[in-house]
């Protein structure tokens, strides 16, 4: 979902590369505050935002994969191993526990992890922007 042409792996390094390549006639961007870069939509600012978007998206997709496998795998599991369905826990058949009770705490747990990690990504981004340059 992200354009394939910009391969930003380490944000800071690319920022500098961009500065050197795009604005060779000026030394300004080296001392310019990134916050201004953000507001003025320079190549540097755009690269920073792309990095943040990519980090947040890959976090969301990874956690979504956990849910897709954890819950989405259940109908498949019940289908290929019908004996699993006949196991009982405290007199309740396993599918009823796996579908009626456990998904809800599981979803909350994944959601809680996401909120923590997404806020950390944003904090990293904010630190990068607000870092004193001089």
């Amino acid at each position: 979902m992200v354009a394939a042409d910009d391969r930003v792996s380490a944000r800071t390094r690319i920022v500098l590369a961009n500065v050197v390549r795009r604005e060779p006639d000026s030394e300004r961007p080296r001392t310019e505050h990134p916050r201004t870069e953000l507001a003025e939509q320079t190549r540097v600012g755009e690269a920073l935002v792309r990095g943040l978007v990519r980090a947040q998206l890959s976090l969301a997709l990874r956690l979504w994969l956990v849910v897709a496998v954890g819950l989405g795998g259940l109908p498949w599991l019940f289908a290929i191993a019908p004996s699993v369905s006949r196991v009982t826990v405290l007199g309740v058949h396993l599918p009823w526990v796996l579908l009626g009770v456990l998904p809800f705490p599981f979803l909350v747990l994944v959601g809680w992890a996401y909120v923590r990690l997404a806020e950390r990504n944003e904090q990293d981004f904010t630190d990068l922007i607000q870092r004193p340059e001089r």
């Binding site: 979902m1 969301a60 956690l63 289908a79 998904p103 909120v115």
Partner: protein, 544 residues
């Protein structure tokens, strides 16, 4: 049924709802007043309000009814209804709040700057809103018919009139406190009777939920059939019954097999196996629709605007997930105990009434039983009052601004009457459908139209207005067509029926594929301000 408490409870819920609404309205008279006021609301209150608006008749009545009828396979409904909030949290919540969009058409215009796409989004908001309103009114009609013996159309009409008048007069304009109150009322109304029901089940020496010989009548029962059905009597004879037929059973007699109902204990107790390909397709389709559909429901998104910033929107969504998840633990108890105490519902076909009838059936007609029955009735009433008010407000809002083109109060009132009358007409004509099934179809349409639009719009710079429009038309149009054929068309069998009854598994991928393909083909039309939009959607507010 002669339970005087029920009428009192219903009147009390209505009065409190209308009362709090009007009191809140006097405090906050303009839209901006309302928004500013609500931004002082903590994530917990806000989350309870979102939960209150979300937990509809389908959740309160329908899920338990489905479990009673079909067993373990339909547990995917509550799981999906809750998981939808996780998808909303992961992909949409914070960026959507930061976009500043108040409705889905707003988002389309902000992100892609196209008036035509906005019009298309408006049409889908109205369609989904109406599709979701029909089962709410159905639930209302069913509840009043079950509790007071009034004819079904009267209940549906009465609730439609109350909700429309309330929204039109402004008594329920998304006041956070009303909706939060409704959440706690609904949770209490299911949780407290559930405790008594489980204790009663213990006291009755834990009768088996799935006796080997199938469900049996615990007491002598006379059943009045309400929907045509084919019964298989214990001696193997087939018998056709029509509405109005009376059947009498002695205590201990087995419940006859009803076509289309899981009366066989193993069918009900154990999930479908791989041998049933259509069942497998239906399950995955339902998972896709509910997991991805929540983010596209019009009344859900409007509430996110009341969060102060993106981070608060995330935390609110997490609390909603917890609140909604806690609620969905309960319908399973009702559906399960319904197999023991209200097996006659399998015969009448009114399985959606199990939540309403179970307290009376299990606990008897003493004061406790009657009080708990009244509590459950109050919760059911709160369920369709809150959801249908929220939906009607959203639909009327887009009709008045995008269709009628006036922002005036008079325009909004006219739009409300318009928005309320169409689903009422439908509700009077489709009483045979299960509440949860119709809601599932609304989720399928939302998942095939707004989910790709939101997810790609938020995360992919390459989306164009044309790609979005064609994708919504292809995926959402296909899902909407499938819904219309299922609800209004001739009865189908085999794969065509399965593909149309649960369309999400093919319409969602279709929408995503078309949207990406057409956007790529028209990539010169990518909005020039996409960088600025991405900056706004994804960076913390503190940096602006």
């Amino acid at each position: 049924m002669g339970n005087g408490y029920v009428a009192t409870a219903l009147v009390a819920v209505t009065l409190i709802t209308v009362g709090i609404g009007f009191y809140g309205l006097r405090l906050a008279r303009t839209t901006s007043d309302f928004l500013v006021a609500s931004r002082a609301v903590s994530p917990t209150w806000n989350a309870a309000a979102i939960g209150g608006e979300y937990l509809s008749a389908a959740s309160f009545l329908g899920v338990a009814g489905l479990i009673l009828k079909h067993g373990v396979d339909v547990l995917w409904y509550p799981v999906g209804f809750a998981a939808g909030y996780l998808a909303l949290l992961l992909f949409v919540a914070a960026p959507l709040r930061r976009s500043g969009a108040f409705t889905l058409p707003d988002f389309c215009e902000l992100r892609l700057g196209s008036r035509r796409l906005r019009t298309l989004a408006t049409a889908f908001v109205i369609f989904i809103g109406w599709l979701y309103l029909v089962p709410q009114l159905q639930g209302a009609g069913l509840t009043l018919a079950t509790l007071t013996g009034s004819p079904y159309p009267l209940g549906a009409l009465l609730v439609a009139a109350v909700v429309t008048a309330n929204v039109a007069l402004g008594g329920m304009r998304a006041i956070t406190f009303v909706q939060a109150f409704q959440y706690w009322l609904k949770l209490t109304a299911l949780a407290v009777p559930a405790i008594f029901l489980v204790l009663q089940w213990q006291a009755d020496a834990r009768p088996a939920v799935t006796p080997v010989e199938g469900p049996t009548f615990r007491t002598a029962t006379t059943v009045v059939v309400e929907h045509p059905a084919t019964l298989t009597l214990p001696d193997g004879q087939l018998r056709q019954v029509r509405p109005g037929d009376e059947l009498t059973f002695a205590a201990g007699q087995p419940v006859p097999d009803v076509a289309g109902v899981a009366t066989d204990p193993a069918d009900w107790l154990l999930p479908g196996t791989g041998a049933d390909e259509q069942g497998m397709f239906t399950t995955y389709s339902l998972i896709l629709a509910t997991f991805l559909g929540t983010m596209g429901l019009p009344h859900v998104l409007a509430r996110f605007y009341t969060n102060p910033d993106g981070a608060a929107a995330r935390r609110t969504t997490l609390v909603v997930l917890a609140l909604v998840g806690a609620f969905y633990l309960l319908p399973t108890i009702y559906g399960t105990l319904g197999r023991i105490y209200t097996p006659h519902l399998l015969l009448t076909g009114e399985t959606d009434a199990v939540v309403l009838l179970l307290p009376g059936a299990a606990l008897g007609t003493g004061t406790t039983g009657r009080l708990l029955a009244a509590l459950v009735a109050a919760g059911a009433f709160a369920a369709f009052l809150s959801t249908s008010s929220g939906l009607l407000t959203s639909v009327a809002g887009v009709i008045s601004t995008d269709v009628l083109g006036r922002g005036s109060v008079r325009g909004f009132r006219l739009a409300t009457v318009l928005a309320g009358s169409v689903p009422t007409v439908f509700a009077l004509n489709v009483s045979g459908l299960e509440v949860s099934q119709v809601v599932g179809l609304a989720f399928a349409v939302a998942a095939s139209s707004f989910c790709p639009l939101l997810v790609l719009g938020i995360w992919w710079r390459g989306l164009t207005a044309r790609g979005a429009a064609v994708g919504v038309l292809a995926g959402g149009g296909a899902a909407a067509g499938a819904v219309l054929v299922t609800v209004l068309g001739p009865p189908l069998t085999g794969w065509p029926a399965t593909l149309l009854a649960q369309p999400a598994a093919w319409t969602v991928p279709l929408a995503f594929t078309v949207m990406v393909a057409v956007s790529t083909a028209t990539r010169r039309r990518v909005p020039t301000d996409v960088g600025a939009t991405m900056l706004r959607l994804h960076t913390p507010e503190a940096l602006r």
